[in-house]
Amino acid sequence: MKILVVGGGGREHAIALSLEGSVHGPKISCLSDVTNPGINAVVKRSGGVYFNGDVNSPDCVSETARRCGADMVFVGPEEPNFHGVPDRMDKDGIGCIGARRNVAELEMSKASMRDLQWKYKIPGRLWYKKFKSYDEAVPYIEEFADSIAIKPARQAGGKGVKVIEDFQVYLQEDKRRVKREHAESIISEYMKGYEDVDYKILIEERVWGPEYTVHCFTDGKTVLPMPAVQDNKHAFEGDLGLETGGMGSISCGMNLRLGTDADEDQAILTQSEYQGSVDIVKSMIDSIQKETGDRYRGVVAGQMMLTPVWGPTVIEMYSRLGDPEAANVLSALKTDLVDICEAIMGGRLNTVKAEFDDQAVVVKAVCPEGYPNRRDLAAGHPISVDVANSPSGKSQDGILWASADCAAKGAGCGSVVTGGSRAVECVGRGKDIPEASRNAEALVGNVRLEDGWKLFHRSDIGSERSMERRIALARTAREIYQYRERKGLLGKRMLWIPGKGFVEVG
């Protein structure tokens, strides 16, 4: 069997490794813009070919699939889905794990996603407004908006989201000004070049609570959920600073328990919150299929938050595996990934079971300084991983290569240079999350930049102290939403507007 993996980051390295572990012994090829050293090793071991090219071009992917004689294409990132790569594979008659253009709308248009969620009255829906232009949005920001998230209405590589808590009236003037200016830069900067959606700016109510991602495999009929994973978006220690693609992620069991043997209350989610989240993702799949008449085949994920308003709440949807979350779910997956893929493509996912072990997995991203806002400074540094120090002493176990190129022009043969984003993801496992975190931490020490430029990572991810806080935060959100649930107020927001009267939203 021959498989083409599309994409060249840490997520695709995790996918390639998981496919390589299949009993079917597939030949794995890869297409990405640069050559990922980790995937390249998998490609070489399995007898495939590494291609450099445009992953967002259906023509390019089609041509590459033909050249390597692929029986199956596994699309890693979201943009190829938005560009119709899976649709093209269907036309070419090649099996594809990837959401077709129509159903990938769930992720691509954050505004359509909310429209759909409200139309079908799916729980966990945040109150929102969408705007086609800056001028449309401004009066709204001036007059009504308090604590809000201002987002580009299209998925724009996870960038451009600003969450502004505007509660303190004495700071309101400053905050409203920044909100306006940010709305303006969404049009001029973040949405520039994206002509495939009508709405440009999305404003949503700000909520708080622990965030988590629930991924599912689906063939459009059957939905097989994966363990919940918590990503860490802040660049620096202690959840401080800039938004990144994800500095590391944790998981244990299906519901983010502290450890394999942890008590029921030592978890970020209860079993029923986890199940509720899966149900929401299922409803989202059903509704997008109903709406478009198209079939969803591949991976779908709800990026969720446990909020006081709703309990499990949708923040955004993914039409693919998250990065670095992919490393969590795939290293816990016990079922053969190739079997799952074949069942998805054959429309018989009901015949397989996706099984996961309940060990803790902690992934930590290692980044060159400059990431995320000065990628120009973060790029181009020679990087290496000291294999001798790895737990097994011989292989790069637990190391996922992400934004790194082993075939860069001008670099010496066999040397790897950073690409400007997260360079390496270190995967630790253990009986509980703090232990897995320590194991990941040990791997981080093996990553080095040869030119002395600094690397950074988040040592706090998965630590005892961090877990204690996350669990406490979940408990606080839980107490409030459960109270609302008992009172029949879940998801309802009631206002008394003096002079106007009683208003109910939700």
């Binding site: 700071l171 400053d174 920044v178 202690g238 401080l240 806002n373 400074l377 806080r469």
Partner: protein, 444 residues
């Protein structure tokens, strides 16, 4: 002591000015005599003067020249300084400004000059040990400083570093503003006022010897390797910090409540009413009342602005403060046996004044209970304690103090009682002012 504040916002569109002003207002209890704020953006601008933060810095008052904008902000509020002391934040060099709480008592590799001022010594030491003004160099300078202090400093590249001295005498916490930036401040109450409201913990404690560096590319934490023993200031819990703050991750209000309970246990009194001296001693009085069942009453009404009378520069100012702040409500004390609770006694004059006023309004008996052990020694780390020959607790026993202030009985909290209440190991606390023994640091 001083309230210090640093704000670093990654997005240069932000103006940190109003955040700075309201942040300093939240620290006002740490110093009410001077206020200063420096903003760093395209330009650098400083406003400082004598008075409250609100008066000196006037929030939302539009723009005074040069104060328009800055995404990095440094500020401080201080109590009465020695005459020649500079208003915080101070300039360490042309390029670097700093706000410092507490006292730096020595700098490794620098001979302190007795004839120069404190600030000139710091500048000389800073000039000696740095060649440029990179933020790493600023950090390393503070790592060479000894004593009991916390600091925030900003250089001319608008980079910020904040941290605590290795002993950890003075507090410092880190708060967040979502993805927008970070705030460091003496106390966590600042985060409630200008930071992001976080349901679990408003702020993260910065450890002794820890520094946080803020640049457009980082907000990393680094630790000074030569970490000595800890010596958290006891007086933060008794008086200095706000009750809605966490100091060293311990809620100050919980300690104050524990102190009230301990006082009830150690100093019971046959009485009709418990009254706390505003503002600090009110939680002590409430806990004393809850523990003993003796009802708590509001004993005083204030005239004018709320001030911290103990921090006033001279006896006249302090008495003025007390008399304006503490007009006795006669209905609360008339014909009653009163347990009167205060946080500390330094010279005893203001206490004598309060007892006198209360008796004048008809209190039958007054049993004074103090929420801290006796103060018998100075503070080398900048808490203003008068010379030892002025300290009543150093020279007179409790019975004698009762007679001097005109009370029917007088009791301090015991040192052991205090240690129980504060929930920190004795070896990690500085109790120098109570016992005359101070933490030691090794000069290598």
């Amino acid at each position: 002591m001083t309230g210090i504040l640093g704000i670093y916002l990654f997005d240069k569109r932000w103006n940190a000015r109003n955040f700075g002003v309201f942040g300093l207002m939240a620290l006002q209890h740490r110093g009410q005599e001077t206020a200063g704020l420096e903003l760093f953006g395209e330009q650098r601008a400083k406003v400082a003067g004598k008075g409250l933060a609100e008066q000196v810095l006037a929030p939302n008052q539009g723009t005074s020249a040069g104060m328009e904008k800055g995404y990095v902000c440094l500020g401080g509020v201080s109590p009465y300084p020695q005459e020649e002391a500079e208003i915080q934040p101070i300039a360490l060099s042309n390029a670097v400004s700093a706000a410092i709480d507490g006292k730096i008592t020595a700098v490794k590799g620098y001979g302190w000059s007795r004839s120069a001022t404190y600030e000139d010594n710091l500048r000389a030491a800073f000039g000696r040990s740095t060649t440029g003004c990179s933020i790493d160099e600023v950090k390393e300078f503070f790592w060479r400083c000894m004593g009991g202090f916390s600091y925030v400093a900003v250089n001319d590249r608008n980079e910020m570093v904040a941290g605590r001295g290795a002993l950890g005498v003075k507090p410092l916490v880190l708060g967040k503003m979502g993805f927008e930036g970070g705030i460091v401040a003496s106390e966590s109450c600042v985060m409630d006022i200008i930071g992001e409201r976080m349901p679990i913990s408003p702020a993260e404690n910065i450890d002794p010897g820890e520094s946080r560096i803020f640049t457009p590319m980082s907000a990393h934490s680094e630790r000074c390797t030569s970490c000595s023993n800890r010596a958290y200031c006891s007086f933060e819990y008794v008086y200095l910090a706000r009750p809605d703050s966490f100091v060293n991750d311990i809620p100050v209000y919980r300690v104050r409540r524990n102190i009230g309970r301990k006082l009830a246990e150690e100093g019971p009194a046959d009485a009709d009413v418990v009254i706390g001296v505003p503002e600090t001693a009110i939680p002590f009085a409430m806990a004393y009342s809850n523990e003993t069942g003796i009802p708590v009453e509001k004993g005083f009404e204030l005239t004018g602005r709320r001030i911290r009378s103990a921090m006033k520069p001279n006896q006249l100012e302090r008495l003025k403060g007390v008399q304006l702040k503490l007009n006795v409500i006669s209905e609360a004390v008339k014909g009653k046996r009163v347990v009167l609770i205060d946080d500390s006694v330094v010279r005893g004059n203001t206490l004598a004044n309060i007892v006198y006023l209360m008796k004048e309004k008809g209190a039958k008996e007054i049993h004074v209970r103090i929420g801290s052990p006796h103060i018998i020694s100075h503070c080398p780390f900048g808490v203003e304690v008068p010379p030892e020959d002025e300290l009543i607790g150093k020279h007179l026993p409790e019975e004698k103090i009762a007679e001097v202030v005109g009370a029917d009985s007088f009791r301090y909290l015991s040192i052991d009682g205090f240690l129980d209440a504060v929930m920190i190991k004795r070896e990690d606390l500085c109790v120098g002012c109570f016992g005359g023994k101070y933490p030691e640091e090794e000069l290598d």
